[in-house]
Subunit: 221 residues, 2 copies
DNA sequence: TGATTTTTATACTGTTCCGCATAATATAAC
DNA sequence: GTTATATTATGCGGAACAGTATAAAAATCA
């Protein structure tokens, strides 16, 4: 590929960026943030092993040495991509907790946001990166496995918080167990993520979610 | 590796094998069935992309040309491995339906068998091959994706059958929806498979299953 | 302008990979 | 024994791969 010399990017007057002092050498031809996003997209599509550095290079617009300098080797890039994914997911969930909502409504919101993530991408739905990582790298890489375990438990806790709040507000029977319900809620998210990868249409996924919420909130208001 | 010439295997007096007529050429040095099982083990551990033909060759004891001759290329071998996996799983489920059992007991049996499959292997638990395949190859390969969809729906149907039988026997409230419950039951299997890959201990998985069964069968006998 | 610094572009290295071509080996049929 | 057939053993070929060495380019600083 004949690659034209790239012009440096404009100073990127970001809202709350600390007005970077002039950097010494040749300016970067890429924005690390968007490059990491592209890498994440690729990894989410095909996983670690099936994604080559050439693919990543093409998608990010960075050549391999730049990739290496900015993010380290392929495994480190994967880990940083996963961290980015989790940060995004966490932020989305926190948003949902920021406002007061009835239990069912809050659950619906969470699943809706999750579906948007799972089904995003023009070349077909990509599912949940945690599930994908659990299914591939988690067995052979202790560091990545620990991240997966952490992500799973974080999700459980978020759902448990939903149910606890709901129970306190009387939206659930007193004998309902928020922990058990939270695991069922996570399970529903996981099954939906898997089915999304198999291109089950959104309508069906929404039906599964609706049914699950019905069972989980049964006996409540 | 210096490989000694292998002696042909004994005629393998299988119970109901059709007493094969004498085969013409040099006898096989392997049994296709056990070789396929070994291949399945490898694929289950690391997935399609991260498993090389050399790995497969070493594990099966077949060299690459023999592998190719017996099963076709890597993708075909993967597909045949997956078919084998599904055949095994299906047989196990059918066994459970052969005897009459109370609903809860039947569910417990299914999950117990599934856990045995998911946690098998000395080098760590391998999870559910359908989940693993959904997470990797299903996006890019329509044939494999169709197999995954089929496996998912087969599981849903098996669970739905459980709940329908239970409902007819009065073990579930009349307004319970077997389809919705079956999807929750599948979801529970999926979340357990994922957590197994992350090496969550069996005790915790069993607790999740117990809680889920409790919710799904709530209001019943 | 010239020196310094940072990033980019190109190309190289050694490895691994998949699939197959070729030849040796072991059996049955004649 | 000899021929035909089926399988195994070895190894080749070309591609893809991950990571890096080297040099060119583009900016600041003096």
């Amino acid at each position: 590929m004949v690659q034209k010399t790239r012009r440096p990017l404009p100073p990127a007057a970001k809202a709350d960026a600390p007005a970077e002092p002039k950097r010494r050498g040749r300016p970067r031809g890429y924005e690390p943030d968007v490059a990491l996003g592209r890498a994440l997209d690729l990894f989410r599509k095909s996983g670690f092993a099936a994604t080559s550095l050439d693919d990543l290079s093409a998608a990010t617009g960075m050549n391999r040495p730049s990739l290496y300098g900015a993010f380290g080797d392929k495994r480190e890039l994967y880990i940083k991509s996963y961290q980015r994914y989790r940060d995004n997911a966490r932020a989305a969930v926190e948003d949902i907790f920021r406002v007061q909502l009835p239990l069912r409504k809050r659950l619906e919101r969470i699943y809706q946001v999750a579906l948007d993530i799972y089904l995003s991408g023009e070349e077909g739905p990509k599912g949940c990166f945690t599930v994908l990582t659990a299914a591939s790298e988690a067995v052979n890489d202790p560091v990545i496995r620990a991240m997966v375990v952490d992500a799973l438990s974080e999700l459980d806790k978020a759902f448990a918080r939903c149910f606890r709040i709901g129970q306190e507000k009387g939206e659930l029977p007193e004998d309902a167990d928020p922990v058990v319900l939270s695991q069922l809620a996570s399970a529903t998210l996981h099954t939906v993520a898997i089915r999304a990868r198999a291109q089950v249409p959104r309508k069906e996924l929404e039906a599964i979610i609706k049914g699950a919420i019905g069972v989980m909130c049964r006996g409540g208001t």
